[in-house]
């Protein structure tokens, strides 16, 4: 690991200002992804700004009947919150399907959104990776590459990495909004739909955040009810990333929302696919996967996603 300096900060706007002013600085909260990447020298910040003392660790009701989740709320606490369990059960299920108890005790809400891909070619510094080293190529798309776990839709010639979060997939189905503060002190709200960017020619740019901008909270709109489920398919039954996951909210009249994990560089959802929910899994998945460009090794994910949604819909119908 490269040497770095470290400071604790006391207020959110001050944290953002410091991050903008100090060269090559990063925020650290739970550190469950940043510190392991620093050990591998994939992340090499010169300065860490510890935001754990900012007090952004509360879950509060919003004026419109929704919930504001402070960015420092740990995944364990968020999953266990009575309001989340009652009103947003898809979120509790997604959180509990992710990582391990030890990691959930540390991992934060904002950090979970910002975690990096687990593409093996991103992690192996001897391999070409446009995300880690722009312009070096994408070893994951070389002939014979191990791409079974990687993305099938929303991907590009430059990058086929997936976003690994379970939490974000549920939040996408719930129409979450990310609240931030800028170095100058102004705040903004970014719909989660627009928060993660597709790789295109610049896979190293992963989010809409500007330099120094700090996530302060994630808000959920008022509860929408319905039957909510999170179905995760993985190689072993715990402590593994999704091959495919489906966050489903289904209303008694058949309408609802579907977001997919494990298949794309961001939680994968679109309004046209949601409208097709009453027609069943095949129609929904045809829409969600219409621009898919799978590899030979990960083509199976398209069928797997359809079957996973079909199973979730069957369960929702009781």
């Amino acid at each position: 690991m490269r040497a770095f300096s470290y400071e604790k900060v006391k207020n959110p706007a001050g944290a953002a200002a410091r991050a903008a002013e100090v060269a090559n600085a990063k925020f650290v909260a739970g550190g469950t992804n940043l510190l392991d990447l620093m050990k591998l020298e994939i992340e090499t910040p010169l300065h860490l700004i510890d935001v754990n003392g900012l007090g952004l660790d509360r879950i509060e009701g919003t004026d419109d009947g929704g919930l504001r989740i402070g960015t420092l709320v740990r995944n364990t606490a968020l999953a266990a919150d009575e309001r989340v369990k009652r009103d947003y059960p898809v979120l509790t299920r997604a959180l509990m399907a992710g990582a391990s108890g030890q990691l959930r005790n540390k991992a934060t809400t904002g950090g979970n959104l910002l975690q990096r891909t687990r593409c093996p070619y991103f992690y192996d510094t001897a391999m070409a990776c446009n995300k880690r080293k722009p312009g070096s190529g994408c070893a994951a798309q070389a002939p014979g590459a191990f791409s079974r776990q990687l993305g099938v839709v929303g991907v590009s010639e430059a990058c086929i990495a997936t976003h690994p979060s379970d939490m974000a997939v549920a939040m996408r189905a719930l129409d979450a909004v990310v609240e931030t503060v800028m170095p100058e002190g102004e705040t903004r709200a970014i719909p989660l739909a627009d928060f993660h960017l597709l790789p295109g020619h610049t896979p190293e740019v992963e989010t809409a955040l500007k330099p120094g901008e700090l996530i302060t909270a994630v808000t959920l709109p008022a509860p929408v009810g319905g039957h909510q489920s999170y179905t995760k398919v993985r190689d072993r039954s715990s402590y593994a990333f999704a091959l495919v996951s489906v966050a489903l909210i289904r209303q008694p009249d058949g309408s609802g929302a579907v977001a997919l994990g494990g298949v794309a560089p961001k939680p994968w959802r679109n309004a046209a696919a949601d409208k097709l929910l009453p027609e069943g899994a095949k129609a929904v998945m045809a829409e969600l996967m219409k621009d898919a460009r799978p590899t030979e090794q990960n083509r199976y994910k398209i069928k797997l996603a359809e079957r996973t949604l079909a199973s979730a819909l069957n369960e929702a119908k009781g």
């Binding site: 391990s100 030890q102 715990s238």
Partner: protein, 161 residues
């Protein structure tokens, strides 16, 4: 060289004060600084769970914890489980049930199990499996580990397993 930072915390009930380098992780600080060799360095990546310690009663990965973040907090390791010559019921049950093969995961398993039993003294088998889900045993000896945790829980409740 960057200056060292003074750090104090409670380790297995004893006040501990030392100096750490900026960016030091808790695992190194416990092993090299405090001389407690019971938490193990496995993957160093937050994957294997061998370095699990309790921070304020919750299981955490000490290899991914910056030492400076535990100022004033309460750390528990396997080094503090036994009471003098008397093993903790978890240690006793692990020993009797051959729940350690190579033994490298054992310290982390014990702490994950302790956190579970502190929170849920009478867990189901599924709850035990979930609680040690973040601790990998490369010998794949999970069944005796789960059995030992259930045996210890039963003894601590004054029942037979």
């Amino acid at each position: 060289m960057m200056p060292k930072t003074p750090l104090s915390f409670t380790l297995n009930g004893s006040e501990t004060a030392l100096f750490v380098d900026p960016g030091a992780n808790l695992l190194d600080t416990l092993r090299r600084g405090a001389g407690d060799l019971t938490p193990k360095l496995g993957c160093a990546q937050g994957t294997c769970g061998a370095c699990t310690v309790l921070i304020d009663g919750e299981p955490h990965l000490s290899c991914l914890t910056l030492a400076e973040t535990v100022e004033g907090r309460d750390i528990a390791t396997t080094g503090g489980l036994a009471d003098g010559p008397d093993l903790h019921p978890l240690q006793q049950a692990f020993m009797e049930g051959f729940a350690a093969q190579c033994g490298f995961c054992t310290a982390g398993m014990l702490m994950a199990a302790k956190a579970l039993l502190d929170r849920r003294p009478n867990p189901s088998r599924d709850e035990v499996i979930e609680a040690i889900g973040g601790n990998l045993c490369r010998c794949t000896g999970y069944e005796p580990i789960v059995d030992a945790i259930l045996t210890a829980a039963a003894r601590m409740q004054g029942r037979s397993a």
